[in-house]
């Protein structure tokens, strides 16, 4: 199996031939214009691969931009809310960026590859905005989305499998660190990052190496129960780990049509990413004003009674609707029914007792469940192995 036999509206990723061969359910989704698997063989088993062995996820559709030049750091500092000066070379930082109104446009990760050399991984296409942000800055922006293939290799045995692949000393790599290796004579970059909250890595190679990388990973990882995972399994893992998803937990502000549907970093629980000690960044004055006046919404992580996922639920305080759920899942490892919700201020503080109005169906019979829930202060899944260096051998 190689390239698809005909042109399709959705593009194949560099791993497509291998993904297709292993996608037993033939269950495909559209991720930013690319053909991506929702599930390979069984969503729950895929999820447990992430938590117990190793799950491999093709993240090639992520948008990747190279930002280089004398003003690269200043450029990023003006664009994103966090302080990029604090990010060392070969380190990765999670970031959000806002428009002038202080409303979140997207989130992503910044890879510092050199003093004046960065890679921004974004969920959205950002060519237009990055171009406008260059006004006044001596930087070069290159869209290298199609020049780099990426695999997330996540789970307790991931370090072991990647070490077998030739990443010698990978266990010494700290969380959010970057290491450089070679694979079949070509550069291979590995970062200790991921979207699962587990021990895990992201592996970046040229598209030409993609198929060989996949083949060798699965060959070497067989004894470590390496499995491909689709977006459904990843979604459970990311909810369990407390990660936001663009287009799900917020709508990128430049895509919002209706008044008031955008969200600020404060309203997404991301105030830790906003560094007001920087003299200027996009959204600063609006966010200062919001800080003074108060936000409209609060991001709340809910621990809900029972095991029925509170998908799309209204959140009640007494008789009053005070919010809605954006993401929800029964999370198997922490054995909790978790949800993220947008709660109207002043409700939704940690410890607040609320009620989720859950509808579920069994054999055409709909049931309405008023499930008590509680706002929790952070993700319940937070294993030691996520942070440990050297990475523990499994």
């Amino acid at each position: 199996m190689n390239a698809p036999q005909r042109d399709t509206m959705l593009l194949p990723t560099p791993f497509h031939s291998r993904v297709e061969a292993m996608c037993e359910l033939n269950d495909w989704g559209n991720w930013m214009g690319y053909t991506t698997p929702n599930a390979f063989f069984d969503v729950e088993l895929e999820y447990f691969a992430i938590r117990s062995t190793t799950g491999v996820f093709d993240l090639s559709p992520m948008n990747k931009y190279r930002i280089t030049g004398p003003d690269a750091e200043a450029f990023l500092n003006r664009m994103v809310t966090r302080n990029v000066s604090k990010l060392g070379v070969n380190r990765v930082g999670y970031a959000v960026w806002c428009n002038d109104a202080g409303q979140v446009m997207d989130d992503g990760t910044i890879f510092r590859l050199g003093e004046q050399d960065f890679r921004l991984c974004s969920y959205q296409r950002a060519d237009d905005w990055l171009h406008w942000c260059t006004l006044g800055f001596d930087v070069t922006i290159t869209n290298e989305s199609e020049d780099i293939a990426g695999l997330a290799v996540q789970g307790p045995t991931s370090c072991t499998v990647l070490t077998l692949l030739g990443c010698a000393g990978l266990d010494q790599l700290k969380p959010f660190g970057i290491a450089h290796f070679t694979f079949e004579g070509a550069p291979m970059m590995v970062s200790r990052t991921g979207f699962t909250g587990d021990l895990g890595y992201e592996v970046w190679v040229a598209p030409e190496q993609a198929e060989a990388l996949w083949d060798q990973l699965f060959e070497l990882g067989r004894d470590y129960l390496i499995k491909p995972i689709g977006s459904y399994a990843l979604d459970i893992a990311r909810i369990e780990a407390g990660f936001l998803q663009a287009h799900v937990d917020f709508v990128p502000s430049e895509e919002v049509v209706r008044n008031g549907r955008t969200r600020s970093p404060f309203e997404l629980g991301l105030e830790w990413l906003v560094d007001f000690s920087k003299p200027l960044f996009n959204g600063r004055s609006a966010l200062l004003e919001e800080k003074a006046k108060g936000s409209r919404y609060r991001f709340a992580m809910l621990d809900i009674e029972g095991n029925k996922p509170a998908e799309h639920s209204f959140i009640m305080k007494g008789d009053k609707v005070v919010g809605t759920v954006t993401s929800a899942a029964w999370c198997p490892t922490v054995k909790s029914n978790l949800a993220y919700a947008q709660i109207e201020m002043p409700h939704g503080a940690v410890g607040d007792e609320l009620v989720a109005e859950i509808y579920y169906q069994r054999e055409l019979h709909w049931t309405r469940l008023m499930a008590p829930c509680r706002v929790i202060g952070g993700p319940l899944f937070n294993p030691q192995r996520r942070r440990q260096t050297p990475a523990p051998p499994f």
């Binding site: 003006r78 428009n99 002038d100 406008w132 942000c133 003299p279 200027l280 960044f281 996009n282 004055s285």
Partner: protein, 519 residues
């Protein structure tokens, strides 16, 4: 304690007016400019020994008489010439004269005569309504406060009171083009073109461009502002700058010339002062820029000190202009076919038809120097003999349209263009070329360099409806305030826009005082 309450960047007419009003209100004001002369575009320059001329703006026709009285500019030395007739030169020598409500010559018909009067009456009604918007800050529609709502109410009431027919007409024509409106009203091609010329002067628009009715009304504001028609300033336009400087100083403002502002200094979230070309730095409670928005934000503050959305608005702000300036020093009075010597003191326009104007506009759109242009001519030395040696004269002309950046650059085109303009003038004034002692052509980049106006646009940015009124210069920086705390605008790039009118400066002073930021 800051060095000043307000530092005003630019000693153009708006900067000086803003400074004078603020100083009059007891504020400590510095007006600072890199040029040696006050007045900015109201400037007189010597072209050749003994020949002096208005270097940029040549006519005063919309200057707010309230400002003349408030600042007592007459006692400060401002002297205006007599109101001018407009003589639209026709090919055969039988020219058309526009004298107030009256039309003469060129076979003008009775129907046009009658329609001209009613047209002028209607424009007068419309411009009086516009005055309700022009003498104040432009009201916001969203987030309107009490004062904005008052302005809107007055505007609504004014609309209602002008009668149903006028109201419908205004709504119908306000956003269309002058070409259609002229054709609706008149038959005489020369008349239509002479009037349409007022709509396109200083713009990047042709008579068929939408929005040219708005620019025509803008020019017609001279009526309600009681400017007394088109006039020249005795001693050259620079005399207006000098009178304004004297008036500002009399009010207590300090005017520092010959020292350019290098940078607007921003500390933390607000502007705190300016740094000057001589290396000094000055602090103020507010900095008020009469420079155009592009120069203010891009050059003096710097994009890197703006949030991206605002930097984008600055970058997209349209500042193209197709207006150039032709200057001639002449050994004698030129002989225009069909005009006696006395008539040469009037405003002469060469724009045979509206299609001729549009045809002059077309090549400019594609950065080409077209074969023919239209002219708005002044021979100021006829009325003011101080401008040239005895028996000799100066001629200045606004020339439409020449591009900002023709292929190959201006130096490759300058002489050929100048020769071509002379040939076109000689068709109306035979022998003019032989009288030329000195000549020069100032094209948009020259005006940009000399007066610091981005694009050479004397409105400090196209006066189109998306960049006008409550959106001038752009959303987020309206009502003289900008998105950057401590930085204000008082130039033509602020409401109500350009030409020698003085309202942006006056309104800005009024608004900034009202906001209490200088207290």
């Amino acid at each position: 304690m800051t060095d000043y309450d307000a530092i005003i960047i630019g000693a153009g007419h708006n900067g000086l007016i803003c400074g004078a009003y603020l100083a009059k209100a007891g504020k400590r004001v510095l007006v600072v400019d890199g040029r040696e002369q006050p007045g900015g575009c109201a400037s007189t320059r010597e072209l050749a020994p003994g020949f002096r001329l208005s270097d940029c703006a040549q006519w005063l026709q919309q200057f707010d008489d309230t400002i003349v009285r408030d600042l007592d500019l007459k006692s400060a030395g401002l002297k205006l010439g007599a109101g001018k007739r407009t003589i639209a030169l026709q090919a055969g020598g039988d020219h058309l004269t526009l004298d107030g409500d009256l039309l003469r010559g060129a076979g003008i018909g009775t129907k046009d005569q009658v329609n001209f009067q009613s047209f002028r009456q209607q424009i007068d009604v419309f411009s009086k309504l516009m005055l309700k918007l022009y003498r104040n800050r432009a009201p916001k529609l969203v987030d309107a406060d009490w004062s904005d709502r008052m302005t809107l109410m007055k505007l609504g009431l004014g609309l209602k009171l002008m009668g149903k027919e006028n109201m419908q007409d205004l709504m119908r024509i306000a956003l269309i083009n002058i070409y259609d409106v002229m054709n609706e009203n008149f038959d005489h091609e020369g008349l239509k073109a002479a009037l349409a010329l007022d709509a396109i002067t200083g713009t990047n628009m042709g008579p068929r461009s939408p929005n040219t009715v708005y620019t025509y009304l803008h020019r017609a504001m001279g009526g309600p502002l009681q400017a007394g028609g088109v006039a020249q300033v005795m001693g050259g336009m620079g005399a207006l700058g000098e009178a304004l400087q004297a008036a500002a100083e009399r009010c207590g403002a300090k005017v520092q010339l010959g020292c350019a502002v290098e940078k607007i200094v921003k500390e933390g979230d607000r502007v705190t002062g300016v740094s000057l070309a001589d290396g000094s730095a000055l602090t103020a409670k507010v900095v008020i820029s009469s420079a155009d928005p592009t120069t203010t934000f891009r050059d003096l503050l710097g994009y890197e000190h703006l949030e991206t959305g605002m930097a984008r608005r600055v970058a997209q702000y349209r500042t193209r202009s197709g207006t150039a300036k032709l200057h001639l020093a002449l050994s004698g009075l030129p002989a225009f076919t069909g005009l006696d010597a006395k008539a040469l003191s009037q405003r002469l326009v060469i724009a045979p038809t509206m299609d001729a104007i549009e045809s002059a506009f077309n090549p400019m759109k594609y950065a080409e120097c077209g074969p023919s242009q239209v002219f708005d001519i002044s021979i100021p030395s006829v009325e003011d003999s101080s401008l040239a040696p005895e028996g000799q004269h100066v001629l200045t002309a606004l020339v439409h349209y020449l591009p900002y950046a023709p292929d190959g650059g201006w130096e490759a085109h300058r002489q050929a263009t100048l020769d071509n303009l002379m040939r076109q003038l000689e068709a109306y004034a035979p022998g003019l070329g032989g009288q030329v002692v000195a000549s020069e052509l100032l094209v948009p980049p020259d005006l940009e360099a000399a007066y610091g106006m981005a694009g050479g646009n004397w409105h400090h940015g196209e006066l189109s409806i998306d960049q006008a009124l409550m959106m001038r210069p752009f959303p987020g920086s309206t009502q003289y305030r900008t998105a950057v705390e401590g930085l204000y605008l008082c130039g033509a790039g602020a409401h109500p826009g350009g030409s020698l009118m003085g309202l942006p400066g006056r309104n800005a002073a009024q608004e900034i005082s009202k906001q209490g930021v200088l207290a």
